[in-house]
């Protein structure tokens, strides 16, 4: 079996998806590609099932908030080929008041909680998720705390005077 490297992955993805998958960069050797919400499931299924790529281990799903960009949410998938120890990072930029992306739970059961966590923190809605509700925060919380506009500290605190903190 040949050693898998980033170039092979790029070629294979471009063969299959052509323009739909853009190669962004490879910071520190970790190939990063970007795609659209409409193709993400096909792409994940392809890299998981393809004989040559076999990124069959879902390392992580998370999101990033870019409030100043046109498309303000980026959902990041990390997948891993355990055989060759090659990782692939897939980014999907989405926007809207309710950012929506299809759920990867059909491919990996492990995606379940990762997507719930992302929903909990960012309000990214994963369509087709079997049980999309808050996981870490309280159900009563009305905001998605990891979005940049929300403060870290509890704004309802009364005992903490700015005066004492030089603010």
């Amino acid at each position: 079996m040949d050693k898998l490297d980033n170039q092979i992955v790029i070629n294979r993805l471009q063969e299959q998806f052509a323009e739909q998958v853009r190669v962004v960069s490879d910071p520190h050797g970790l190939l990063t590609v970007a795609t659209e919400a409409t193709t993400i499931l096909d792409l994940l299924a392809f890299v998981k099932e393809d004989e040559q790529l076999r990124f069959n281990y879902l390392t992580d799903i998370t999101a990033v908030h870019y409030p100043n960009d046109e498309r303000d949410f980026c959902v990041v998938y990390h997948v891993h080929n355990l055989l060759h120890n090659v990782r692939l990072r897939i980014k999907v930029f989405i926007n809207g008041p309710v950012p929506t992306i299809p759920s990867a739970t059909t491919l990996w059961n492990g995606a379940n909680w990762m997507e719930r966590e992302t929903f909990d923190f960012f309000g990214v809605v994963f369509e087709g998720h079997p049980d999309l509700r808050r996981i870490l925060n309280m159900d009563e919380l009305e905001v998605f705390p990891m979005r940049k506009e929300y403060p870290l500290e509890d704004p309802n605190r009364v005992d903490k005077k700015d005066f004492y903190f030089g603010r």
Partner: protein, 184 residues
């Protein structure tokens, strides 16, 4: 000679065949030396409590042999670790389930003040929801510090008057926390 040391008797009048002291002090002595802990361990401090209960430090030497996981039979509530706002109602319920007299030790920075986690999700000190008797500093406190906290609590227990739990001051304290008592 045995290595067992007896608890020191409270001050009183001693004579041939009798020893007289006040009931308060005798009961305080008994309570102080058999404090049954309820470990409410949520995070890092819980691991240090594990070490405190373990073979090297051995909390059992101070009369806390049996960790009582049932709040009904516990005397001191050891709150160890961060209490998130999601957890706060649970903690309060555990506290109200305990029978009087009950004491609370806030172990570690998080339980005492929220510690380094000044965030939207963390309760800034358990004294926002329940009254606390002893605060143990540290993040996490060393087992010696936890032991010291228990010893400090023993001092409080020893000197507590029997009537304290029926006083209007105590009731006002609980009322401040919104805890309803039914023992008087």
């Amino acid at each position: 000679m045995s290595k067992v040391t007896l608890a020191e008797a409270p001050p009183g009048v001693e004579g041939a065949g009798f020893f007289a002291t006040s009931l308060d002090k005798v009961i305080g002595l008994a309570r102080a030396n058999s404090l049954w802990p309820l470990p409410f361990a949520t995070s890092c401090c819980g691991i240090e409590f594990m070490a405190t209960m373990g073979s090297t430090y051995d909390l059992a030497r101070f009369g806390a042999e049996r960790p009582s996981f049932s709040p009904r039979q516990a005397d001191m509530l050891l709150v160890m670790g961060t209490i998130a706002k999601k957890m706060a109602p649970v903690l309060k319920q555990v506290y109200t389930q305990m029978a009087e007299p009950r004491w609370v030790i806030a172990v570690g920075a998080c339980a005492s003040s929220g510690g380094i986690f000044d965030t939207y999700s963390v309760l800034q000190g358990i004294d926002e929801i329940i009254p606390v008797d002893v605060y143990v500093p540290g993040c996490p406190p060393r087992p010696e510090a936890i032991l010291d906290g228990v010893l400090k609590l023993q001092e409080i227990v020893k000197s507590e008057s029997l009537n304290r739990r029926n006083t209007p001051e105590y009731k006002a304290l609980l009322e401040k926390y919104g805890i309803v008592t039914d023992n008087g």
